[in-house]
């Protein structure tokens, strides 16, 4: 027992008082404690940094509804589309049908029409799809590849026409045009928006002769003409938005406001490029208001001849399907119109000269034939 106790008491003694042993015990613990303190401190710093970052720079983390209800609703279409490409969260916020619907109806009052609403509901992304189709301008200058199989021609095209004066809508009309009947296919392509004897009032006072007034009209009368193919679910704006020319008719003296978009046509001597021309004809009396009496869309080729319904609809369909969409550039649209008008003039003059030369040659031939006949008859 005593031995046991002795052995028990004496054995740990040297161990307890051995400074090396204590040191060897203390050292790793202190190192562990230091490591724990350091890591917890760095962790603290990290979380602190995270907090400060999130509170100063990320708006979305704190108030996504400010962005959604207050900022996004105030953006124009291009900025909204840009915002949708920022991150997946913002894309989600920007993809709401209500935002795009509001943007569409604010841009085009015709989009409140039940016919249009019904058609848009079948588009893949609803109002977002039609907005990115119809808001930018249409750029279609290269003919479609030869192997490309065209879709069947559309049964009908829907026109959504809005006219604005100084940015305020003054006229909106939705019109369905059946494009598959024989009469349409075999006559020159023409979409008429107004009924005969229908007039639209404008807030503009009529002036008989004034260049300044006309250039002012060119600045303030804008037009959007959206063509919708409900089967292919595509749309395009075939108006230059701002007029490319304002002039008076040479005979009736009516005011003609012209909007034009040039696009690729089809193979042929004069149909390589065609131009969609929207003409707004206005009349009025001095002292009274200006009235719009005709709004129509035609398509003309490089010789100024009107395209037929069948070819015209095919060209429009191809342009809607393959045409690039770019930001509206009114200056470029005007340049294209001037260039196209010059081509028409040159081709007409060339045709005229050729016909004249033909006439001279045939006259000469007839004269020679007559001389020969006289000679033969004389002898």
């Amino acid at each position: 027992m005593s031995y046991k106790r002795h052995s028990h008491n004496s054995k740990p003694k040297p161990i307890r008082y051995n400074p090396f042993f204590i040191l060897s015990l203390l050292l790793p613990t202190s190192i562990i404690i230091i490591i724990i303190i350091m890591t917890s401190e760095s962790h603290y710093h990290e979380t602190k940094n995270k907090n400060t970052v999130s509170s100063t720079s990320t708006i979305t983390a704190i108030q996504p509804d400010i962005i959604h209800t207050h900022i996004l609703t105030r953006l124009d279409g291009a900025t909204l589309a840009t915002a949708a490409s920022v991150s997946s969260h913002l894309r989600h916020l920007c993809s709401g049908e209500d935002i795009w619907k509001n943007l569409c109806t604010a841009t085009w009052p015709t989009f409140m029409d039940p016919t249009i609403c019904h058609v848009i509901s079948s588009f893949p992304y609803g109002h977002r799809s039609i907005f990115s189709d119809a808001y930018p301008s249409l750029h279609h200058f290269s003919p479609s590849p030869p192997n490309h199989r065209p879709p069947p021609p559309p049964q009908e095209l829907i026109s959504a026409v809005d006219i604005y004066y100084k940015g305020n809508p003054i006229f909106s009309r939705v019109q369905r045009t059946e494009t598959s009947n024989n009469l349409f296919l075999t006559s020159p392509l023409c979409f008429e928006v107004l009924q005969p004897n229908e007039f639209i009032q404008t807030p503009v006072n009529f002036v008989r002769k004034d260049e300044e007034w006309m250039s002012q009209l060119q600045e303030s009368f804008t037009l959007s003409w959206i063509l919708i193919d409900p089967i292919q679910k595509r749309a395009a704006n075939i108006s230059s938005r701002r007029p490319v020319s304002v002039k008076r008719h040479w005979l009736t003296r009516d005011l003609e406001i012209v909007y034009a978009v040039v696009m690729a046509g089809e193979k042929g001597r004069s149909t390589e490029k065609v131009q969609c021309v929207v003409k707004v004809t206005c009349c009025g009396k001095v002292g009274g208001e200006l009235h719009v009496k005709e709004v129509n869309l035609v398509m003309e080729d490089m010789e100024g001849r009107q395209m037929m319904g069948k070819k015209g609809v095919m060209i429009l369909q191809r342009a809607m399907e393959n045409g690039e969409r770019k930001k509206v550039d009114e200056v470029r649209a005007m340049e294209r119109f001037v260039k196209f008008s010059r081509i028409i003039k040159e081709r007409r003059e060339m045709k005229h000269r050729r016909e004249k030369a033909h006439g001279v040659v045939s006259m000469l031939l007839a004269f020679i034939a007559l001389l020969l006949f006289c000679c033969i008859a004389g002898f």
């Binding site: 708006i59 400010i66 207050h70 105030r74 840009t82 490409s85 894309r91 969409r325």
Partner: protein, 159 residues
């Protein structure tokens, strides 16, 4: 600047996150919807603490509300334009968060309008920097999205 000693007994005390006490009149306080509902919930003598608003932002909000009520109707637009002009981009973002929390309706009209104007016709990169948002799209996703709306990037402003 912070302690606007108002002797009126019914002024409301607001405590910002950085510990400054503001005393505002009930008319000013009632234009902040969040505070309005807090006054209804507690009794008005208590100091209301605002965990998401710092002294600078609250002083700006009060400056706007007091300044606007003091200006004539015709000069309001000028006052608002000057108020927005005085803010740096960083201050604007911080203030927008404070305004969103306090629900100051008039500023919730004015400020997003200014923000919308600032980001109009700007690039995606500018918007990311502006909102402090990290791009979480994969490169292929982003390329697809950019292709879809290529028209929107046509002729954007330099950052």
């Amino acid at each position: 600047m912070a302690e606007k000693a108002s002797e009126s007994s019914n002024s409301i005390s607001l405590n910002t996150v950085d510990g400054k006490i503001f005393k505002v009149s009930p008319t000013i306080a009632n234009q902040m919807q969040t505070i309005q509902s807090l006054i209804k919930a507690y009794d008005s003598s208590r100091v209301i603490s605002l965990p998401h608003v710092n002294a600078f932002h609250l002083s700006k909000i009060i400056e706007y509300l007091e300044g606007k009520s003091a200006t004539t109707v015709s000069a309001v637009k000028e006052f608002e334009a000057q108020f927005m002009k005085d803010l740096s981009l960083k201050q604007l973002k911080g203030l927008l968060i404070a305004v969103g929390y306090l629900k100051v309706n008039e500023l919730l009209e004015l400020m997003p309008k200014t923000v919308a104007k600032l980001i109009e016709n700007k690039s995606v990169e500018f918007l990311r920097k502006f909102f402090g948002i990290v791009n979480d799209f994969t490169p292929s996703e982003e390329a697809k999205i950019r292709e879809e709306i290529a028209w929107a990037f046509d002729g954007v402003d330099e950052d």
